[in-house]
Symmetry: C2
Subunit: 266 residues, 2 copies
Amino acid sequence: MTDRRLSDACSRTVLSAATPVTEGWAPHEREVDLLAESGEHFSCLSFVDIFSDLTEQDIAAIDRTSPPRLFSSGELVFSQSEPVTALFILKGGRIRIFRVAEDGKTLTIAILEPGAVFGEMLLIGQQMYDNYAEAIETSVVCQLSAADVEEHFLSNPRIAVKISRLLGEQVARLEERLTDMALRPLTARTAATLLTLEKAAPRTRFTQARVVKLTHEQLAGLLGATREATSKTMADFAARGLIRQGRGRITIDDVDGLRRISRSTF
Amino acid sequence: MTDRRLSDACSRTVLSAATPVTEGWAPHEREVDLLAESGEHFSCLSFVDIFSDLTEQDIAAIDRTSPPRLFSSGELVFSQSEPVTALFILKGGRIRIFRVAEDGKTLTIAILEPGAVFGEMLLIGQQMYDNYAEAIETSVVCQLSAADVEEHFLSNPRIAVKISRLLGEQVARLEERLTDMALRPLTARTAATLLTLEKAAPRTRFTQARVVKLTHEQLAGLLGATREATSKTMADFAARGLIRQGRGRITIDDVDGLRRISRSTF
DNA sequence: TGCGTTCTGCGATCAGGGACACAGTGCATC
DNA sequence: GATGCACTGTGTCCCTGATCGCAGAACGCA
């Protein structure tokens, strides 16, 4: 499992300007701020790689018709009942893409960071794409309508090429993850997943360590394991000095150690 | 798991003319025949969906520079040591795409039927794509060189769109398979996989049943399980009258029954 | 500050499958 | 035909991870 495999369902260019989520605000205050910034000062499309071939006029036109929407933590961005009819761009917050089995158990396909594009199956005329998307923090999402997509994208060959590339990367990541799931024990999978996440994670202020912002439960969803088993593994890693833990945050201390474990069979 | 998920790593348009593999010939006799037919009477590219936008000149040009190659059962078409530098088209026989873990265990990503295109990651500039491809029957494969690909494909926008679509389907299949792997017990996964394979399988002459040509071991590779566990499951299915077994061939009798099992949790 | 909700940490029990070890049995080649 | 090999059926042991049940701790909110 690699960084990218998990972090984007499609493009994910980091937008430093898009995540000014300082902590500790009152909720409605924060919401207002997020929306204001996204609506006024910031185009949804600029800086996202996949759109870099659009003309400025196109971008302006699309921005005009695609108001940002706010989702609070736990809210569904799309689901079976409201199928994907738009292309989404995550401006701020975090979104979890997941699938649900008959018995209600879920597997997390990806956890998206700001700058990610999702619902991209629309682009290639995919139907019946039964993923769910849920905000795991207060999130701001821009929606491009199917009409926008049709008008601006399908006509543009360079964009098709970019989409191919992104999908190709996704295929590679999924195949890797599939073999991990099939052939590796939980411990190795956990280490591998942490390494993946680590690559995308922001660094701590003074040390070189990185912090992954996930609860054990969220990590378990990614691993296809139970929360308990994941907790146990994490406690083990912590005891070995590979990581440090804090409610909802995992500090990666020993990348090499994790790498060794991720490669071992047991 | 669906038919398509397993049967193509890329395009797979059935070529009725491409698999005249009558059984019971002496090996070298068969080889000669396969090669002769592929080299002379039959273009590698025609009928394969992804190429349908090429001009006849293009097709002719490519055919001239891409002689069909023969692989006997067990031979590797590509691997880590000889990385993918070409695009392959399977004309006859069957190819298994798989990955290998550190401990030597393998997971089968796909089993390709004639008409499939593989090594397609080359198209999108993918490096380090560590899949292996192995013939599981005597197979005939055409290779397009990287140069051919560059010249004829990357310039053609309609082809990029088709590639996007194919990759998108692959992503959907892989995500489905990943959740199956994570959330479903072997029994359900086996049933689902059989159904998938069933859709692609040829029908028996008189009944409506279809026959899947796989050994338990090959099926196990697809399931990410051991041969023994797979055998046990299959024996169970057979006892319930859902399937009938014969060395290397599985006859699907009760599609609905399998479907029921594939949806249940236990 | 106080309270409730989330997160995390165990522990006990249980079951699905993995690892091995063989024993039959078609099929294919000679 | 005869011989071998590749497939398949089982059986036993064992171990990972799922399940269930709580308990303590940190944090968010009122």
